[in-house]
Symmetry: C2
Subunit: 379 residues, 2 copies
């Protein structure tokens, strides 16, 4: 109920009289049950209207009603006056219209931003789940060293790691807030493959193995003496960690070691800045300036017009949560936020180099939830 | 361009002047490129406005423009008069508002149904991809016999089959049209686990291994002499097959063999009815009547209020395509439609029994795209 109280505070701030949540993930966050239906929240009341499942024991402590159509809400709630909040960034237009027409809601506003704000700060149980996800990620990176063999393609390695991570408890579902984006288990990319950007709003794209899912690993065999990155998303009990390590089959040359040292210093600088109260936009601009001073501006965070405009993002139930380390994101970083920080260099010269860790922000600075060093691994 | 012409016919029928597609999967279907942005279609013109990726060679033969915001569409298209079609069942409310405000579109209608109609009939290339998906499904079912061992849990078996199917080319992404639904690779269920319904609108639910993803296999060890079902979704190059087989570790008893014979006869009866021109609602009602005559009404297609109201569904780029074998679906079945037919019995007595095949509808009747018999397999 503490989560609902936090939402109510934001409802007051927006002068909303009630909120209707229809995104199953939001319903899960506030009720504890992953169901379809509507979660109704006013200042006095909170009712979970379940469309499906009706024949399963629910976990929630909230009041439950069953519904078939929005008319059932109307019968239960009667005539509502005032202003409603709806998740307009997620709910399809026709579903919003059906709900608002059935309930004769004439005034409604977008509550998507506020829901993300409530979810931005994690409670100890959420932190623990992301810590578990991070532990699976660390084991999976170590597994690369156990199984890598000459002749393996990016896709071969991906399949082996996917199998391994699932055995450790990875749920294999990677939810995102942003419409049109699709996260996947892993981007494993080397050389030219790292130069492909994709529809997915991330620094790496990749060719993928199908035009219908054009991101991530290809069937190209991993070559000697060229770095490749393994970016891994793990979902443990609903909660996501995001991490990247860079590997090289054989020895890296001196030139790349300079690039790598540059990347490590950007990563270290970023970590220094991640303290409660820091403004993400200011962090972003400082890092951009620092990268520029090192001479890596041209290869930082993607290619040309597809360069992404963030260098870190919150994670939790979704892989693109608040806060974003990005221009325009001005809410100070809060204690108990969880962020993935992902400086990446992509270039025609060396392909790719990247480090990513998921961090818990504490008053003493960020603590990595990926229990594994982020050095370059020679295989 | 033939697909676009089919859409234009439906646009004429609805008196639409143009269509704006923003769902990446629709853009892919009509353009050949999986990108984010807007596909603009009028009777004279067709322009793919790409938001992302901008630095990747596209496959499409359509005219391409690049966009950062909807204002770029306005600059390119100028003032538009008349009525627009938008995918209102899929596109979030706020995105629809942003587009229509930027373009000053005052009149717009839902085109979701028409897009699904265009996609309902498959061309030879699409059929071939679903045939490949079906071949992977068949091999994966055979793999159950190779790897099943005493002591395996539903989840253990799921992970092994997932790994095997990915090695054969399964993309591991299971897209759905319906908001709030999430398809996954496999439901493997036995006994009590089959009695769990879930948020997912399917005859089977399952406990899953997390409250955050409460569907599918649990960690319960597969028991002797009790049937269990393996429902497998395969995505090959964007296209999905859906199939279910029933297994039993050891021998089945006589009573269950009677249940199984009943299920087989329902499946056979359903197949007989799947001819071009048949009305899905009529098929549905006939089958319901037939199931009733066999005495299986109480266990057919789910439990109590969570019983699903369909016994078959189209598949293609999504797992819930047109047509549906359901009450209220009155469009005749067309040649070259592809449907998954899935009679399932769920009961406290024996747990579960199910058969599902993905069929191509031809003028000579349905042809299974799952090259494997659907008999009960004793392990």
């Amino acid at each position: 109920m503490e989560r609902i109280e936090r939402l109510r505070q934001l409802m007051r701030y927006k002068s909303l009289d009630y909120v209707f949540l229809m995104k199953p993930l939001s319903i899960f966050y506030f009720s504890g049950d992953y169901v379809t239906g509507v979660l109704y929240i006013s200042y006095e009341d909170c009712i979970l209207f379940v469309r499906r499942p009706k024949e399963r024991v629910l976990l929630t402590e909230l009041k439950v009603e069953y519904m078939d159509s929005f008319r059932d809400l109307k019968s239960c709630l009667g005539s509502l006056h005032g202003k409603a909040g709806l998740e307009l960034d997620s709910i399809p237009y026709s579903l919003v219209m059906k709900l608002t027409e059935a309930l004769e809601l004439h005034e409604f506003e977008n509550i998507s931003h506020e829901i993300r704000l409530v979810r931005m700060v994690k409670d100890p149980l959420e932190v623990e789940k992301i810590r578990q996800a991070g532990a699976i990620a660390a084991s999976t990176f170590l597994h690369v060293e156990s199984i890598f063999a000459e002749g393996m393609s990016e896709q071969d390695l991906l399949i082996e790691l996917d199998y391994f991570a699932k055995k450790l408890g990875n749920l294999g579902i990677y939810r995102m807030h942003s419409y049109g984006n699709e996260a996947s288990f892993s981007h494993i990319l080397q050389g030219e493959d790292a130069l492909f950007s994709s529809y997915f709003d991330a620094p790496t794209g990749g060719p993928g193995i199908s035009a219908a899912f054009p991101q991530g690993a290809s069937k190209k065999v991993i070559e000697k003496s060229k770095p490749f990155t393994v970016d891994i998303t793990i979902n443990y009990d609903g909660y996501i960690s995001d991490a990247t390590r860079t590997f090289i089959f054989g020895k890296s040359d001196e030139h790349f070691m300079k690039v790598w040292a540059g990347l490590e210093s950007v990563f270290a600088y970023l970590c220094e800045l991640m303290v409660p109260g820091a403004i993400p936009e200011e962090i972003y601009l400082k890092v951009i300036k620092y990268v520029d001073s090192l001479g890596f501006s041209n290869v930082f965070m993607g290619r040309g017009r597809d360069r992404v405009k963030f260098i870190g993002h919150g994670t939790g139930l979704e892989v693109d949560e608040y806060p974003f380390i990005a221009k325009g994101f001005n809410l100070p970083i809060e204690e108990n936020s969880i962020l993935a920080i992902e400086p990446k260099f992509i270039s025609e010269e060396f392909g790719i180099a990247g480090i990513e860790d998921t961090f818990l922000v504490t008053k003493n600075g960020p603590i990595s939830l990926i229990p594994l060093g982020s050095h370059l691994v020679e295989l």
